[in-house]
Point group: C2
Chain length 395, copies 2
């Protein structure tokens, strides 16, 4: 395990390089037209966008440099070189590199949705082949209470590969849609990364230690470069991270989940993203009108954020829209104002939900509350994964 | 070899997709500020820049889809899966993907030279590790006439890795500096790619057939997507290819040369680029003044291109500059005009050399002449590689 120490040292260096590099390259981004205006601030200055490409590149470079270290012992004895583990590492980096490219292209060119769904699928192909070749285990262990009907395990075959491909698409997009206020994208990614690292460390003494060592090799440099990005992206943001960062993060988590065989645990750490996604579905699929931006509304007078809203014209409502509004009202997850012609509800994102539940608040408090929720969800994930799972699975 | 037929079919499809996609995405590039003005035309309209990222992405995607086909037979029998060949393919794609990212970042952000030299070196690291693990042959066969002094072969060890790393840096930059007139970057790349493909087909029945099949797997989709790009980049260009294309091309050739063990033959196909590089050295290293652009000068009146020029102030000349100008004059490779205070010479690029040797000509003739020169050089390369080599090496 000496090489994990080396990895930590290398990652520390990566932190400082990323930090430096972001400051150095800031102006290049603004000059290239890659900037945004912070909609939740009074001051309307140009803030460099897509800076995630810097942390992403340093993350990749460190991972490259790390190859000779991880495989150092094996390099002395090339006869018994673990080609399968090496291919695994290369496939992981290849998928991440593809998403870095796609994310940056998206930030620059503003691609259409179909590319955003198609390309992560293609980028995950090398992963799936590696998985097939190295493991090809497509068997689900059935929880004890259900075994009388399904038996101990079910082999779902091809479906498992479809599930893994969809996991990559979900992870890359899920972080991207729980976004828009300073520090939130990076903050949630840091918490997910930390959760995975804690999980790896717990499991490092188990019989799956190799898979968890692999996961650490990816997560530690990722965390280091992301923390450097967070330093500049935290409220009040001096840089925006862009789709680049969200895509790279999502793919990194998916890669680790797939190749280290704990994709279900990774999904548990994505609880807030899953809630946000499900809550967003009515607007994403246009059952409820969806404006171009669903960011909270900033009030210059109070310096606070309020939930942004969308208008549903009553005569345009079809029965599905009616059911959705009705159910959401019953569940008390929307704030509804109604007159004869229209219904006004908050935009259906977790961010706006927090604002209608806790009232208007400053951007910083909102980010912190959402991140505390992410931490609580990680706690729940650990409870499901350990004490609860022992009821449903053997030892 | 049935899969090579499949590869050709898939590559044909890739040709049409690239062609379509370029037309569809044109406006996105202009909207994102990625455009240039063609300096060698009277009409000053916005021409989309960095379109090489489109052909590069399709090239990558096709290569991904190709993984299950190449390794199809082996996938049935995962016990004997050729992990080493798979790692080779992944490392190749990873290096190419990195250069696609770097090239695009360079087109968008206009990076400094140090990154352009540093990043291809890092990007070639996975290649070198794969080479080390799979082959680690660092032995040069000594030509027969020299064997009395050096023996039959010399093992140059680490130096060979440094040579391969430098090859990647050279290839990625060499195409980029023999550029600037419509169709030249793509044209030369097509000729190099065709030369490599011909070489592969000749050798496909030899004992290195596996290495050459590998090379074909990379070169055929590369050629297909590049031809689609050429259709739009040929005189008069409707798109510019950008650094993206040059970097991807250079790395693709380097990857194939390194992993298929014919890097010296690849260098032979780079003869015009090597000549251009050596000829450019005095300006690249600022021994002779180097203006921002060294493109030929367009005359709107005659619609012809002339060599562009640089001014050397006599009192600023150091002895090295004097020697360079003297030697170049003796070799008749510069066009010099002198007065008491200064010397005016053409900018030292192969493009300008053609213009001073053959006189002013249209952009199209110039491109065609340079490409004919590239074809002649490939012919010379084949003569060196086959009839001549048999004098210097045993059968």
């Amino acid at each position: 395990m000496w090489y994990l120490v080396l990895l930590v040292i290398l990652s520390l260096i990566a932190y400082f390089i990323t930090d430096e590099l972001i400051l150095k390259l800031l102006n290049l981004f603004v000059k290239a037209g890659l900037y945004g205006i912070d909609l939740c601030k009074t001051e309307k200055k140009k803030i460099p966008e897509a800076i995630g490409v810097v942390s992403g590149c340093v993350f990749l470079v460190v991972s490259f440099l790390f190859i000779p270290i991880i495989f150092g012992n094996s390099l002395m004895d090339t006869q018994n070189f673990p080609h399968n583990e090496f291919a695994e590492f290369l496939a992981a980096l290849l998928s991440i590199c593809c998403m870095l490219l796609l994310g940056f292209a998206d930030d620059v060119l503003d691609l259409r949705w179909r590319y955003k769904l198609l390309l992560p699928t293609v980028a995950s192909l090398p992963l799936l082949v590696v998985y097939y070749v190295n493991f090809n285990s497509t068997t689900f262990i059935v929880p004890i209470p259900l075994r009388q009907w399904f038996g101990i395990s079910i082999n779902i075959g091809l479906l498992y590969y479809i599930y893994m491909g969809m996991l990559a698409v979900f992870c890359t997009n899920a972080i991207n849609i729980l976004a828009g206020i300073n520090g939130l994208e990076v903050g949630q990614s840091v918490i997910i990364a930390l959760s995975i690292i804690i999980f790896d460390i717990i499991e490092l003494r188990g019989d799956q230690y190799k898979a968890h060592a692999f996961s650490l090799q990816i997560m530690i440099p990722y965390l280091a470069t992301t923390l450097a990005l967070m330093k500049h992206n935290w409220y009040p943001s001096k840089v925006f991270v862009g789709d680049t960062f969200c895509y790279v993060s999502g793919m990194t988590f998916a890669v680790v989940g797939i190749l280290s065989h704990f994709s279900k645990t990774v999904l548990l750490f994505f609880l807030p993203q899953i809630i946000n996604f499900i809550y967003s579905v009515p607007q994403l699929f246009h059952f409820v009108p969806c404006p171009r931006h669903r960011l909270p509304k900033y009030s210059g007078e109070t310096d606070l954020l309020e939930a942004s809203r969308t208008i549903i014209i009553k005569k345009d409502m079809n029965s599905l829209t009616k059911i959705i509004v009705h159910v959401c009202t019953l569940l008390r997850v929307i704030d509804k104002k109604e007159d004869n012609e229209s219904i006004v509800i908050n935009n259906m994102t977790l961010i706006n939900l927090f604002l209608i539940k806790f009232g208007p608040m400053s951007e910083l408090s909102l980010t912190i509350r959402l991140l505390i929720f992410q931490i609580i969800c990680s706690g729940i994930a650990f409870i499901i994964r350990y004490p609860l799972a022992s009821y449903f699975y053997d030892g």
